[in-house]
């Protein structure tokens, strides 16, 4: 059995798993899955050298290994620390980790513009998820948030530096997918920024992938900009024959219209195959694609909450608790409001309600 790789036994949050030597704690935790897997904002399994920077994946090592069972004094970045045989790791069972993670999330958010309502990433933003799970409701930061000069990265990619958390993923992507990186991190400290130094468009065939790897809305698809919210779109797996890439993508459609094309993402939000710019930005017709079927979206995702048609009306609980009486109506909003007419069944409207939907019912246009 000499060929068999060496297996290390590692215990994460009291769950023991055997993994190959050289596996990182984060990947071992991902094998267990569920809540045990620490969040990762900068680590990307497909990008060599990534990780270690965001500090959200910090875990406590309660015992280094069987040979040396001393605990590690500091919390370690699980994405860049390899497991040892007999290692005992505490993630969600450690208060210290939870506290530190909360601190990291707070620090990541102090200069984040929190412009989710107008951010194209909202709904599939890792920072959003992270702050829902680990952040505090309020902020203690009372100062103006950081701002940057705007840089134009060309016709396809939109850069919002204020949202950036400097995960360096896009830098690694450009390094590893393209033969010439034209953007990078300029300056240092809290004024470090992603830029091209000399205003230059990112125009490599595979540079569009920086949009997929960006955990926040710092790099978004210009061809999709402000076109729609992701949760109104229906993701479907599709493919095409492409000479440059695998052609396996996720189509984001509403009705028959293709709004955007992205790589297929796995359960950790990482793309499975890199796709080329042509597939991503140019093929915006359903006829360009062979649709395989709906993409599996986690039921916790806001994207899978996309059931606006024929939803069940909310259960009226007030008459029950009030012994059958209805609550006294102080003001009927519908007598004032121009929109939001009660005779319109919102669940019958495809997608978000628009003022046109209400106007139509008021004055149906004669055909």
């Amino acid at each position: 059995m000499a060929d068999q790789p060496k297996l290390f036994k590692v215990t994460i949050d009291n769950i023991t798993i055997e993994v190959e030597a050289g596996t990182s704690i984060l990947n071992a935790a991902r094998m267990i899955g569920g809540d045990v897997a620490p969040p990762a904002m900068c680590y990307y399994s497909k990008l060599k050298g990534s990780g270690g920077k965001c500090r959200t994946c910090l875990v406590e090592v309660a015992a280094g290994s069987t040979a040396d069972p001393r605990p590690m004094p500091k919390l370690v970045a699980s994405c860049r620390t390899n497991v040892m045989d007999g290692m005992v790791v505490k993630n969600i069972t450690s208060e210290r980790v939870q506290d530190a993670r909360k601190g990291v999330v707070e620090l990541l958010l102090i200069n984040h513009p929190l412009d989710c309502p107008i951010c194209d990433q909202a709904g599939e933003c890792h920072l959003q998820d992270l702050s829902y799970e680990h952040g505090a409701e309020g902020t203690r930061y009372e100062f103006p948030r950081r701002q940057f000069e705007k840089h134009n990265l060309g016709p396809y990619i939109q850069l919002h530096m204020t949202r950036c958390i400097l995960c360096y993923r896009c830098v690694f992507t450009a390094d590893q997918l393209t033969n010439k990186r034209v953007h990078g991190v300029l300056d240092r400290g809290d004024h470090a920024e992603i830029a091209t130094y000399i205003e230059k468009a990112l125009d490599n065939d595979f540079i569009g992938n920086v949009i997929d790897v960006c955990p926040v809305g710092a790099l978004t698809d210009k061809t999709f900009r402000f076109k729609n919210r992701v949760w109104f779109l229906k993701p479907e797996d599709a493919h095409c024959s492409c000479s440059k890439c695998s052609g396996k993508v996720t189509l984001w459609r509403r009705g028959d219209e293709v709004f955007r094309v992205t790589g297929r993402k796995d359960q950790w939000g990482e793309v499975q195959d890199w796709i080329c710019n042509e597939c991503r930005f140019e093929k915006k017709k359903t006829s360009d694609w062979v649709i395989e079927g709906p993409t599996k979206v986690s039921r916790h995702s806001v994207i899978s909450a996309n059931h606006y048609v024929d939803t069940v009306k909310p259960h009226e609980a007030l008459p029950e608790v009030m012994g059958g009486r209805n609550p006294r109506l102080l003001m009927d909003i519908h007598s004032i409001s121009e929109v939001n007419k009660p005779e319109i069944d919102l669940s019958k409207i495809q997608g978000p309600a628009h003022s046109n939907d209400f106007k139509k019912s008021e004055k149906p246009k004669g055909q």
Binding site: C54, L75, A192
Partner: protein, 454 residues
Amino acid sequence: MGKKLLLEKAHVPGIRNYDVYRREGGYRAVEKALKTMSPDQVTEEVKKSGLRGRGGAGFPAGMKWSFLAKPEGVPRYLVCNADESEPGTFKDRYLMEFIPHLLVEGLIVASYALGSNRTFIYIRGEYAWIVDILEQAIAEAKNNGWLGKNILGSGFDCEIYVQRGAGAYICGEETALIESLEGKRGNPRIKPPFPAVKGLWDCPTVVNNVETIAAVVPIMNITGEEYAKIGVGKSTGTKLISACGNINKPGVYEIDMTISVEEFIYSEEYCGGIAQGKRLKACIPGGSSVPILPANLLLKTAKGENRMMNYESLSDGGFATGTMMGSGGFIVLDEDQCVVRHTLTLARFYRHESCGQCSPCREGTGWMEKILKNIEYGKGKKSDIDLLWDIQRKIEGNTICPLGDAAAWPVAAAIRHFRDEFEWHVQYPNAAQNRNYGLAHYADPLPVVAAPKA
């Protein structure tokens, strides 16, 4: 008069030139090492000496050398860290300016011990004129056969190169220094792997401070055992202290770590007391990033003993009542100094010097600076002090490199020991604009049993 090993000859006229240095007994250490000892014996000698890294962390140098991986066919490198940018520290500058050959000599011996054929001095960009001094010294050494191929017929080749940094504090962190030396952005690497295994161009590398390397020369000359006899306990040998602040005689002093802090500040041989007859309020004994101590805790430990100028005594009591030896940047504050303002200055420095790679340090340092600015300029709130404490706690230990800790410690220590001064700033914002808090009780004798006991 304390024993001097490094600066003994520093003021001999013309010592900067090879002829004088050689006449004064220079390059004996190279002769001894290369002619009579094997590289391992040199390492063993340094181990015996108990020499601790003089850059700040105080890790035993011999141990560091022995950790160096030695795979076949892979070059090894020695890098001398001359990126001395810690506020309050200027000992390496003094050493390199006055007696550059001491560093060159130490580098040759250390390169021999480690098997480094190409050795680098990474020097702070602001020390532009010292580059010329060093390059002249290296050229002289080379002309006289101490560098180049087959030195002294031992078969050992060595070249020393001087590389200027571009003025970033972070490049004094050893892995950031290596990145910078490779021509990349000076971001610290994530450890492991440690430089001893994968350092410069992924080859095993040792990074040592200027003073550490220089100390190898007297170790060779007087043997490691003799060196270990100087000093006390694990603080062996002599240490350069760069004293500055409100003292009568600021400058670089070589001490043998057996004197007390009080003696160091007040004796005529060293700092010569507080300037203008004022009283001592606080002191940072090891460069800007080590915790600040009020006068009473500085002179006496919590146990009531005299605090000595060595690694153990300065860190006695942990961070609760102690501090660290650090790099030896001894900053003295008199009664007219404001600790809040001082902390703000340091926070501004660390905000400016954070590399921005990992989030707690990038975001936290700026936040701390802004809060401290508010407090200093009379716009602070009581809750800000607790907030500061919380932020520093969230940064410390959670970052890639020690810069996060270095930014957090001064703030933590200032709040720990000078909380009432912060509160006074908040409570009397107008008064705080016009006058200082003064000495208050910071020099009062400590209660006899100050050790925290339940």
